[in-house]
Symmetry: C2
Subunit: 476 residues, 2 copies
Amino acid sequence: MAFLKELSLVKNNFLSGIDVLSRRAAQISAEIQQGERRSYNEVLDLSSGDLHRGGIKPITFVRQVLAACFYPALLEDDSLPLDVKQRAESLLRECDGGSVGSYTDSSGMAKVKRCVSQFITSRDGGVPSSPDNIFIKSGSQTALMIMLKLLIRSTDSCRTGVLIPVPTYASFSLALEEQGAAIIPYYLCEEQGWMLQVEELRRALQSARKTCNPAALYICNPGNPTGHIQSRKSIEEVIRFAAEEKLVILADEVYQSCVYGDNTEFYSYKKVLSEMGSTISSTVELASFHSVSKGFMGECGFRGGYVELVNIDPEVKEHASRLFSTRSCPPVVGQIALDLMTDPPKPGDPSFPTFSEEVQSIKNTICKNTGRIQEVISELPGVSCQPLKAGFFIFPSLYFPPKAIKWAEKREMEPDFLYCLHLLEETGLHARPGCEYRQREDSHHIRLFVGTRENVMEDALQRLKTFHVRFMKEFS
Amino acid sequence: MAFLKELSLVKNNFLSGIDVLSRRAAQISAEIQQGERRSYNEVLDLSSGDLHRGGIKPITFVRQVLAACFYPALLEDDSLPLDVKQRAESLLRECDGGSVGSYTDSSGMAKVKRCVSQFITSRDGGVPSSPDNIFIKSGSQTALMIMLKLLIRSTDSCRTGVLIPVPTYASFSLALEEQGAAIIPYYLCEEQGWMLQVEELRRALQSARKTCNPAALYICNPGNPTGHIQSRKSIEEVIRFAAEEKLVILADEVYQSCVYGDNTEFYSYKKVLSEMGSTISSTVELASFHSVSKGFMGECGFRGGYVELVNIDPEVKEHASRLFSTRSCPPVVGQIALDLMTDPPKPGDPSFPTFSEEVQSIKNTICKNTGRIQEVISELPGVSCQPLKAGFFIFPSLYFPPKAIKWAEKREMEPDFLYCLHLLEETGLHARPGCEYRQREDSHHIRLFVGTRENVMEDALQRLKTFHVRFMKEFS
């Protein structure tokens, strides 16, 4: 097969692996479009957390407001609900020249920052939030990169260390490496539902002190790719640890609205911190990230996210503010989406019934999907899975027969990477291998996105099942 | 005055200067909104190249296509022209899940890259361009930053040097400093219409060789803030120089469509390079940048720009491609705007008459504005100005009386910075001081944006005139 030629370049480099898998998926799609026959008629993409790619429809309210903002002649149109027009008008009033094509302040429009801070205050049951501490960028990752820039002093003889969970998504490790940080991995406990254990944080920090200067602790809660969510008690322990060790907490909370199950609740680091007594609550430095891509709105292509800074020294904040402002302004469309995400239609608003129905339907779909995934997976040989509590991904563990391991070793590849490549090639299902996420050695996983239309998920699961059974037979 | 408290922190730091001027402008606007009385009723902003902020209306075709892409129910609407609907439909077909809310390839959608490369081929009279060499990002500056990242090796004991014109816009110098590059200034010759002289490039390079490792030559053509445009001959000379000195050319060509006057034509570096004989045309490495912000479309808030790579070694391109792909995808709205900019309505299309009328009207406005600016300026004492040939800015030279220079020295500020601050404070006109652009020592300038509605420009010029006359009287 032609794609193996490219494969021969890959070896164990998970980065190239990302390229190879995605490129191959694109290539297969193109070949099918050009009429090439395969046993499947399209590639199914469970590789990234993209609701619309998975066939979920956008929220009508969001799209109507945007259409009116971009083409204000629609404000004269009777077909748009009154609250849509009012929101569009109020947003356009905040744009210079009344146009979404104008630059905004490089940290975001004042109106949107107010909206975000009101959302945070209300989310956290009244804990105050100030627009001055909100910085909007073209996605939470961009904001995170700027915060890393602020933290990491590459001129130091001793490198700045950042504690990161294992598993964690690849682009974050990459960003750290690019900025010259030392990565300090701490392992989440899979057996206990990917729990974050403070003794493990302590072990990781201790072992890193010899080689770098640990400055920050990165948390992903709810977790990607793990689908776990921290309890209030767990967050308190982490904050206490950060206080003792004088670490800045970088809390990636982009999946905060995607929480499933009856006894599961999202607590923000900010809220928990605020209730911990003043020696801690007024000193631990925290940056919390959120995004329009990862909620039920799922507007990944708009590019909008924010960071809120808590307890950051005013001089540092001034420096941060300058770093944020040397970059061009965030896309206005992403800012508007943030406004709509943090101030959605309320009961009584004309758009409310449709809006709440659409959100509920997306939630129902994801719940059904995760149920089906767990059902199907539980029947597959050599697969186990921690329950999905939150977020967009499920991360089953694969136990490969020794023959499969040897087969991969011979090709100098990670077994789960090779598994995903063949899964893609033979069934057209694009999932991601655990080796991309810096998993524990000798453990193997795949990451599956759970936010697709139900029929897409059913199709994907049948492909996975067929492939997996054949694979295990071949290598048993 | 309260704003002077803030001023006392400023001194000669042009960066803080940017903050102070912009912050003060925002503050004054807010005060006026809150009812405070001043001799003017609004701040007029000639500080940035933002057509819509200046009251220029967006291009209808662009906004209609985008509205339909955001809210496809509009495709059923009879009020939208057929070509608008067709374009929206063809763009939505290229989006995963048919939604502009999906992620795209991190270097941009294949359709848009094809469109951009066809535009380049046609612009350059048939010189081939391949979509594989196009990388789309959230603005030309973002693409430029990534190219700098590729070029600059901060681990070298000897820093990587980049030749940059003086004057040049501040954010670029900043980006270079942030990435750890050594800045090698070369001076444009104001007396000769801001001409770029190769002997000056040579002098700059020679003097820099002792302290750094010069790797790239940054060109801004048409020029910001200078409003000049290079002749074909001048470009050839520069390319020959880059070939001799083995420098990568970074050609910032974002103002390429904004060219005024009968005998003025834009030549792209790529076209000129392609016609220079194979030892040069096939070896000189070139990266050329363009954007949706800086043409007559003026959609700064959308965030869309691209770089085309020419003669870049395949392995380096692979590395570049990886650097581009570790960042999230560019905003879909910016990509769509690029598609529309590079493939606008054609004669015969339903949208063509309105489209061409709107573009012509913007051109006429800018031409009238620049005429009026030069008229007014020529009557002001102590001001001279090179003719504006292209771009969005005019950069008049100010000759301050010795008393004014001393007044500024006493305050440890640049005279043109202090001039701009008082211009803002007393008349509400927000212009930028030459000191932000690394101007030649002992020369002073202001930069004025030329792309506003005519009545806005007239108002601005009256404010400038009144202030300038009073200022010169006070210090003569």
